[in-house]
C-alpha cells in the first residue's frame, strides 16, 4: 500500500456482522463524470441537458415498456426488509441507502410520482417524489455503489433484482448526460479498438510472442499463443487484462498450456480481444450488443467451430446468458432466423456454445486427455471465491449449480489442498469482491475496500483456521480488485490468482521428458496427437 487511506478500514474478526445503520455515511462518494468525448461515441449527451427532467422521465417510461423486469420490480416491493442485510456495500459501509430496497426506492419514489395513481394523487402517503437534481445526484452516487452482483435477488421473495434497477438508473443518467468516466471510457475503447485496455493488434501480438518465449524458457516446451489464425478450431475470447495484468496473465498461460497439451488448434483474435462488455454495467442493450457483435464477426471471419471464454465473471454472464440473444453465438435459433443460423451452422453443435474455459478444461481432465501433477501445487492451500455473475447469472455444465461444481473440480484435479469458505459466503450466497459492475476505479477506492469486507472476513476465517494461502478466482475484475484490496486488510497481494494459474502450475506438457513423468508424458502426447487428428 502506497499511502495510508483517508478512510477507516475495519479490523477483520473472521465473522460477518450486520452493522447499525449510519445515515449519509457514503453520501459524498462519487466517481468521476464522463466528458463529451467519452459520452458522444456511446450515443449520450456530454453534459447535463437542459430538459433533463422530461428526458429522464421519458427514458424511464421507455424502459418500463421495454423491460418487464423493471415494471414488475417497481410495483412488487412490499418493504419487507429481507434484502436489507444482504448487500456487501451495506455491510461494509452501514449507509442505509446501500440497502438494496433503499437503493431501489431512489428510483421507485420517482416511478410512483409519475407512473402510478397513488403517487400522482397521494404522493406523501406512498413516499412519491418529483424528480429533482438532488435525486439525480443521489442516483449517481448510489447507482455507482452497486456492483450489480444480484445477491439481493436471491433473497427477495419476489426475485427483485437490484441490478436491473441500477442498470436502468445508469441508462437514464447517461441519457441526460451524466455518465461515469470509468465505465464509459472503457466501453468506448472496446468499440473503437476492440478491447477494454485499448491494446492495438501489434501490441497484442508483441505480448503473445513474449509469452511464448517466457513459457519456452520456463518449461522448454514451445507452447503457442496464436493470434488471428483462420481455420482454427477454437476461438478463445478472454478479458484483455489477461494480456497484461498480474496475476491475470498466469491464467492466459494456463489456457495456452491446456490447448497445447490437448493438441487442439486455437486462436485469439484482435477483433474479439475482449470478453468483458461494460455495456452490461450501464444497462445499455445497444452498446452491449455492439460490443458482443465483435465476437460474432471474428468467429465468422476465422471460421472457428467453437468459442471458449476465459476467466471473467460479467463476461461469462454476457456470453452465457446474452450472446445467443445478441449475436447468435449459441444454438436453437428459429428456422427463419437467418442472422443466428448463419453462425450456428458453422459452430459445432455437440459442445456448448459458448463454453467456459473451466468447462473446457474440466472435460479434458475428466477424459484424461490432459493430465496434471497435483503435487506441483502442494505449496498452496487454496480457497475459491465464487464470482457473483458466474454464480447468480449463469451456469456451467449440464445441471443447475454446475457453475459451483466445475471450477472446484478443476482445482481439485490439479491440486491437493482445497478448503471452502464458510457456508453463506459461497455458491449462490457468495459475496461480490467489491469491485464489480463498473466500480473498479481508484476514485471509488473507499467503496471498493469497504465492499470487500464481507469477503475478507470469510477469507480471514479460512486463512486462520485452514492455513489458506491462495485465493483462486475466475474473474478479471475479482483479480484486479483483490490484488489492490488485500493489502488494506493486511494480506499479501500475491495470495491472489486464477484457477488456470493452478492448472498452469500442475499440467503435464507433452514433450516434457523429465524423469518419472516421462511415461505419462508420452501417453499424453499420443492422446494429444490423436485429438489433434480428429
Amino acid at each position: 500500500m502506497a499511502a495510508a487511506p483517508d478512510f477507516e478500514v475495519a479490523k477483520l474478526t473472521g465473522e460477518i456482522t450486520v452493522p447499525k445503520l449510519r445515515e449519509g455515511a457514503m453520501a459524498g462518494i462519487k466517481s468521476f463524470n464522463a466528458n463529451e468525448k467519452i459520452q458522444a461515441p456511446l450515443g449520450y449527451p456530454g453534459e447535463l441537458v437542459e430538459d433533463w427532467h422530461d428526458r429522464a422521465i421519458g427514458k424511464m417510461g421507455e424502459l418500463l415498456k421495454k423491460y418487464r423486469s423493471l415494471q414488475v420490480f417497481m410495483d412488487a416491493c412490499v418493504h419487507c426488509g429481507a434484502c436489507t442485510d444482504k448487500c456487501h456495500y451495506y455491510i461494509g459501509t452501514s449507509d442505509p441507502k446501500n440497502m438494496p430496497v433503499a437503493r431501489q426506492e431512489l428510483m421507485r419514489q420517482v416511478y410512483r410520482r409519475y407512473f402510478t395513481f397513488a403517487g400522482k394523487y397521494f404522493p406523501k402517503l406512498v413516499g412519491a417524489k418529483d424528480l429533482s437534481k438532488e435525486i439525480l445526484d443521489d442516483w449517481y452516487s448510489y447507482y455507482y455503489q452497486c456492483s450489480e452482483c444480484r445477491r439481493c435477488s436471491v433473497y427477495c421473495p419476489y426475485g427483485i433484482d437490484t441490478a436491473e434497477i441500477t442498470m436502468a438508473g445508469r441508462e437514464i443518467l447517461d441519457s441526460v448526460g451524466i455518465g461515469q468516466k470509468y465505465s464509459n471510457e472503457i466501453l468506448g475503447k472496446l468499440h473503437r479498438i476492440g478491447n477494454n485496455l485499448g491494446l492495438p493488434g501489434p501490441a497484442i501480438l508483441d505480448t503473445l510472442e513474449g509469452l511464448e518465449e517466457d513459457v519456452l524458457d520456463d518449461t522448454g516446451i514451445p507452447v503457442k499463443f496464436p493470434l488471428d489464425v483462420e481455420g482454427a478450431e477454437v476461438l478463445l475470447v478472454t478479458p484483455s487484462a489477461d494480456f497484461f495484468s498480474e496475476p491475470h496473465v498466469e491464467s492466459l498461460i494456463g489456457y495456452a498450456k491446456v490447448f497445447h497439451a490437448a493438441g487442439i488448434s486455437w486462436t485469439l483474435s484482435t477483433k474479439a480481444s475482449e470478453a468483458g462488455n461494460f455495456g452490461l454495467f450501464i444497462g445499455s442493450y445497444e452498446n452491449m450488443r455492439k460490443g458482443a457483435l465483435r465476437i460474432r464477426d471474428a468467429a465468422l471471419e476465422l471460421g472457428v467451430k467453437r468459442i471458449v471464454v476465459g476467466e471473467c465473471g460479467h463476461a461469462w454472464r454476457v456470453a452465457y446468458s446474452f450472446w445467443n440473444t445478441l449475436t447468435g453465438v449459441g444454438a436453437g435459433a428459429a428456422e427463419d432466423d437467418e442472422f443466428a443460423r448463419k453462425l450456428q451452422a458453422q459452430l459445432d453443435p455437440s459442445v456448448p456454445q459458448p463454453s467456459h474455459i473451466c468447462e473446457f478444461t474440466y472435460d479434458l481432465l475428466k477424459r484424461g486427455v490432459i493430465k496434471a501433477d497435483k503435487s506441483k501445487n502442494d505449496h498452496r492451500v487454496i480457497t475459491f471465491h465464487d464470482s457473483c455473475n458466474v454464480s447468480r447469472a449463469s451456469r456451467m455444465g449440464d445441471m443447475p449449480g454446475g457453475q459451483f461444481i466445475i471450477p472446484r473440480e478443476v482445482i481439485k484435479m490439479v491440486a491437493n489442498n482445497f478448503q471452502d469458505m464458510a457456508p453463506g459466503t459461497t455458491h449462490e450466497a457468495t459475496f461480490c469482491c467489491g469491485g464489480g459492475g463498473g466500480l473498479l476505479t481508484d476514485d471509488l477506492m473507499e467503496v471498493r475496500v469497504k465492499g470487500a469486507q464481507p469477503r475478507m472476513e470469510a477469507f480471514k476465517d479460512v486463512v486462520d483456521s485452514k492455513k489458506v494461502n491462495f485465493l483462486a478466482l475466475i474473474c478479471a475484475i475479482c483479480k484486479a480488485q483483490f490484488t489492490k484490496v488485500l493489502p488494506y486488510y493486511g494480506y499479501n497481494m500475491g495470495m491472489v490468482g486464477g484457477v488456470h494459474q493452478l492448472v498452469s502450475t500442475a499440467i503435464e506438457l507433452p514433450g516434457l521428458g523429465a524423469g518419472p513423468v516421462e511415461e505419462e508424458a508420452d501417453e499424453a502426447e499420443t492422446e494429444a496427437t490423436a485429438a489433434g487428428d480428429e
Binding site: 421495454k66 418487464r68 414488475v72 410495483d75 416491493c77 397513488a118 446468458s321 449459441g330 444454438a331
Partner: protein, 242 residues
C-alpha cells in the same frame, strides 16, 4: 332499503369492479411487456416444469424469504396462510348450500384468524424494532398493516366476542352475488369490517399488494435457464437485426 344498505351495496360493486379491472389491466401490462434478456437468478431450473416447481415453492412456502430472514418468514407465512384459510372459510357466505368440506373447515378458519393477526403483529413489530426495516417503512406501509389488522381484529371480535347476525349477513352477501341487493345488517363492527375489506379491494391494484400477481411475472424466478440451447429474442430487440 336504507341509505346505509344502498351505500354498502354500491361500495361492494364498485370495489369488485375496480379490483377486477385494475388487476386485469396490471396483469396484461406485465404479460405484454417484453423480457428481452434471460435473467433468471441461478441456479435456475432448466425446464418449464422445473420453473413451475420453483414458482410453487416461492408462492406456497416463500422459499427465498426463508433463506433471508427466519422471523420475517415465520410472521409473513403465518399472516398469508392464516388469511388464506380465513378467506376460504368466508366462502360459506357466498354459496346457498354449504358443502361438507367447507362446513368441516369452519373451526380451522375461525382460529386461523388468530394466526393471521399474530403474523401481522409480528410484521408490524419489525417495522419498529429492526432499525433497517424502520428506515425503509413508509406511512403507507403502516397504514396497510393497520387496515389488515383492522379487518382481522374486527373479524375475530365478531366470531369470538360480539357475535354478529350471520344469517342476515349471508342474505346480504348472497344478494350481492345474485344481483338482488338485500339490506346490510346494522352491526357497527360488521359495517367497519365490510368497509375495510372494500377499501382493501379498491387499493389492491394501485398498491404494493401488486406483489401477488407480480411474483408470477418476475423474470428472475419464472425464466428457464436455457440461453445457450434456445435463442431468446424480444420483438424490439429483433428489430435491431433488420
Amino acid at each position: 332499503m336504507s341509505t346505509l344498505s344502498i351505500i354498502y351495496v354500491v361500495l361492494f360493486y364498485v370495489a369488485t369492479l375496480l379490483l377486477t379491472v385494475g388487476l386485469v389491466r396490471k396483469i396484461l401490462q406485465y404479460k405484454n411487456s417484453p423480457a428481452p434478456l434471460k435473467i433468471p437468478t441461478t441456479p435456475a431450473p432448466m425446464t418449464t416444469s422445473g420453473v413451475a416447481y420453483r414458482m410453487a415453492k416461492e408462492v406456497v412456502l416463500f422459499e427465498s424469504l426463508f433463506k433471508s430472514s427466519k422471523w420475517t418468514w415465520i410472521f409473513g407465512w403465518m399472516f398469508h396462510f392464516g388469511m388464506l384459510v380465513v378467506l376460504v372459510r368466508h366462502l360459506r357466505y357466498f354459496v346457498a348450500d354449504v358443502p361438507g368440506w367447507l362446513l368441516a373447515m369452519q373451526p380451522f378458519g375461525k382460529y386461523a384468524a388468530f394466526m393471521m393477526v399474530a403474523g401481522l403483529a409480528g410484521l408490524w413489530a419489525r417495522r419498529f424494532l429492526v432499525d433497517r426495516v424502520r428506515y425503509i417503512s413508509t406511512l403507507s406501509d403502516h397504514l396497510m398493516l393497520a387496515l389488515l389488522m383492522g379487518i382481522g381484529v374486527s373479524g375475530v371480535l365478531m366470531t369470538f366476542v360480539e357475535h354478529t347476525d350471520i344469517v342476515a349477513l349471508k342474505m346480504f352477501a348472497l344478494g350481492l352475488v345474485r344481483f338482488s341487493p338485500q339490506p346490510v345488517p346494522g352491526d357497527p363492527i360488521l359495517l367497519a369490517h365490510l368497509a375495510m375489506v372494500a377499501l382493501l379491494m379498491i387499493i389492491f391494484p394501485i398498491s404494493k399488494l401488486l406483489h401477488a400477481p407480480g411474483v408470477f411475472f418476475s423474470p428472475t424466478r419464472n425464466q428457464v435457464d436455457n440461453p445457450r440451447e434456445r435463442r431468446h429474442l424480444a420483438d424490439w430487440a429483433a428489430q435491431l437485426e433488420k
